[in-house]
């Protein structure tokens, strides 16, 4: 019984972390789906989202705002605005000028952007870990055996629900709205979409902005869940989310969700049953296996050569 509860608890831990990987992975997968490039500055955008949320929360606290939903809502909106404009700016500065050149060029300029943003936050906010207030505390326990209780905290529930809502909303937006339809057209054939009168520059900007907004949501949630932020916070998370996107099939939105959850569960089970030391070995080992046996990822479509 206790073993079962232990497994259940590790599953909850894995699902929580996996959902946030999925939220960040969306940014990678959408940009790749549309322009076939990887936005390496995305992890930094997520980090900036977390910092903006923290600054907003601190600001509101000094102004005397105490009602939690208002604080969270304002923090979320501010983080999304700042991150989205960063996403937009990254596209304008690092991608648009070199679009259509050799594939390596935008890759390098994105890495440059990532280093720049990381160091900018280093300078502006200091390099130390900053504590993030735990706004949503408590939780409830279910099932106990011996001295082990399985528990789920409110913040974990908030993370699941938010991720689920964001994913559903995004899928609906992409499949139903005008911009969504244009996005799909651009991802199928950029040149043709352009000829048909779609403002492709606007659509590409929109993908960066949507991805960045979701990363900001993840930034706020994870900041509260973990309890601290630092300027290097986005790097590892970005790498993991990128792995999740590739695992699920880069370019596919349900794939990002699936990849994130698989990665999160694999990590928590490894730390739970083997040792925390092997966590990263397993997650990146999984990536290598997928790339060897199913290079398009779990839900990715096999690429059709365009003639």
């Amino acid at each position: 019984m206790q073993d079962l509860l232990y497994f259940g608890q590790q599953l909850i831990n894995g699902l929580t972390i996996g959902s946030t990987y999925a939220l960040i992975a969306i940014g990678y997968t959408m940009v790749y789906g549309i322009i076939g490039m990887i936005n390496f500055a995305h992890g930094e955008i997520y980090m900036i989202g977390a910092y903006t949320a923290l600054i907003t929360i601190t600001g509101l606290a000094t102004l005397g705002v105490t009602w939690l939903p208002v604080i969270l809502l304002i923090a979320l909106i501010c983080a999304m605005i700042v991150s989205s404009s960063m996403g937009w700016a990254v596209e304008r500065v690092a991608y648009r000028p070199v679009r259509g050149r050799h594939r390596l060029i935008p890759l390098i300029s994105a890495i440059g952007m990532s280093i720049f943003l990381q160091n900018y936050v280093h300078l502006a906010q200091g390099s130390r870990n900053i504590g993030f207030p735990a706004l949503i505390e408590g939780g409830f326990q279910f099932g106990s055996s011996g001295n082990f209780q399985m528990s789920i905290s409110w913040i974990q529930i908030v993370i699941f629900v938010t991720t689920f809502v964001c994913m559903t909303a995004l899928s609906l937006y992409i499949s139903r709205s005008r911009i969504g339809r244009a996005c799909r057209a651009v991802s199928q054939d950029l040149g043709m979409a352009n000829l048909l009168g779609i403002d492709t520059n606007r659509i590409i900007s929109a993908t960066f902005v949507i991805g960045a907004a979701l990363a900001a949501v993840a930034g706020l949630l994870l900041g509260m869940y973990y309890g601290s932020v630092d300027p290097l916070f986005g790097f590892i998370a970005g790498l993991k989310a990128f792995t999740a996107a590739v695992l699920g099939g880069i370019g596919s939105i349900p794939g990002a969700m699936l990849g994130g959850l698989i990665l999160g569960i694999a990590e928590s089970m490894t730390s739970g049953y083997l040792s925390g030391e092997y966590k990263d070995v397993v997650s990146f080992g999984l990536l290598i296996l997928i790339l060897l046996f199913k290079p398009t990822g779990l839900l990715g479509k096999p690429e059709v050569e365009k003639i």
Binding site: Q2, Y6, Q9, Q10, N13, G14, T16, I17, H122, G126, S127, R128, N129, I130, G131, A134, E137, G139, G146, N147, F148, Q149, S151, S153, L222, Y226, G227, S228, D230, L232, F233, I236, A237, E267, S268, S271, G272, S275, G276, E277, K279, D280
Partner: protein, 370 residues
């Protein structure tokens, strides 16, 4: 006129070029190497503040044998690769003495360079036994060793009669070294160590680890590493209702752990060098720090101060600025310093250094345990 002017400029340039090395010779340059940025910059601040104060005070009293001390500060970010880079920079700057580095994993590769280049190094903070175990002539420290600190922590744990203990570390030289020493001492005393496991430094998610600790039903957890990770572990353990007492080395004992862990830091046990700033003889020095608006209470402030003072006294006793002669003088003499009487053994370790167990509080203060 123009011709004259250019001649004049030339003459000025030449005389400046001659004058420069002459004025540089009248100074003893001391490199200070430690993290000014990065996750453990907090400790670097302590080191730089202590060393700067010592240089200031020695210069105010007329320097060493009439020569002034001059600091050359470099930032190693507590990163071994960066440490090698800045060590080479100090070599190029022509420095003969170094106070640093802070993190053991940085001190180790940097000390290879200093030893090869004939530079005397005193680390005010690195506690890994490895550093002085290689028969180097020019490596000293003003702090104890993990092999002294580990048993102090372990013996304290043993006195608390723990039932099940977990030992966690961050897989780095400092953290794993001290965790191993704690585990060995605990096992010798037949304490039940149920877990010995590494985590990844820089990681944020410890929920799986905390669940594992909960299932292992431990009542004490020893953590070898630095505060950013332990702070998060404490906080996530509190959220998951893990009922265990945590203990860590001096790498976790600073106020930054409170900003991360919040209330969860209450009751944390920490082994630290004794509070030198509370000693009667150091009150004048403490006042000097306070006048500058600096805090002398950090564990590495006065050890760094002492490192500079030892270099100065070594030079005075040797009557020379040759690092080898100064090292000889340090090994032979014994010195009255803010951290007590210092004398060295053959390896460059202090012959005695004390660690004390403190209990940490949610407001960042600490009280000595027994």
């Amino acid at each position: 006129m123009i011709k004259n002017f250019s001649k004049l400029a030339l003459a000025a340039g030449v005389s400046a070029a001659i004058a420069l090395p002459a004025s540089a010779l009248a100074e003893i340059r001391i490199g200070i190497a430690g993290p000014q940025t990065g996750p453990v910059a907090q400790y670097g601040d302590m080191q730089f503040s202590g060393a700067r104060m010592a240089i200031e005070r020695i210069n105010a009293e007329g320097g060493v044998n009439g020569e002034m001390l001059e600091a050359v500060e470099v930032d190693d970010v507590c990163d071994p690769k960066q440490a090698v880079t800045v060590a080479n920079r100090l070599v190029n700057e022509g420095v003969s003495f170094v106070v640093g580095h802070l993190c053991s994993s940085s001190t180790q590769p940097a000390s290879d360079i200093y030893e090869d280049e004939g530079i005397l190094m005193i680390t005010p903070a690195s506690t890994s036994p490895e550093i002085t175990a290689r028969g180097y002539e020019l490596v000293f420290r003003t702090i104890g060793l993990d092999s002294m600190q580990g048993p102090v922590a372990a013996n304290h744990l043993i006195s608390l009669e723990p039932k099940r203990v977990a030992v966690i570390h961050d897989k780095q030289q400092y953290g794993e070294g001290i965790a191993t020493s704690v585990r060995d001492t605990l096992e010798e005393a037949d304490v039940n160590v149920v877990m010995f496991e590494g985590i990844t430094a820089g990681d944020k998610d410890f929920s799986s680890l905390v669940t594992k600790l909960k299932q292992a039903d431990v009542d004490y957890v020893y953590y070898g590493g630095y505060h950013p990770e332990l702070g998060l572990i404490l906080r996530q353990a509190r959220q998951a209702d893990l009922d265990a007492t945590f203990m860590g080395p001096e790498g976790v004992g600073n106020k930054d752990i409170n900003t991360i862990a919040g209330d969860a830091a209450e009751g944390l046990l920490v082994t630290l060098p004794p509070s030198f700033d509370e000693k009667e003889v150091n009150q004048a020095l403490v006042k000097a720090f306070e006048e500058k608006g600096e805090d002398p209470s950090g564990p590495f402030v006065l050890t760094s101060y002492t490192a500079v003072q030892l270099i100065a006294e070594g030079i005075e006793q040797a009557g020379s600025t040759d690092p080898f002669e100064v090292a000889e003088a340090l090994r032979e003499g014994s010195f009255e310093t803010p951290i007590g009487m210092v004398s060295y053994d053959e390896k460059g370790d202090m012959e005695s250094f004390e660690f004390v167990v403190y209990e940490w509080h949610a407001d960042g203060s600490k009280t000595a345990v027994n």
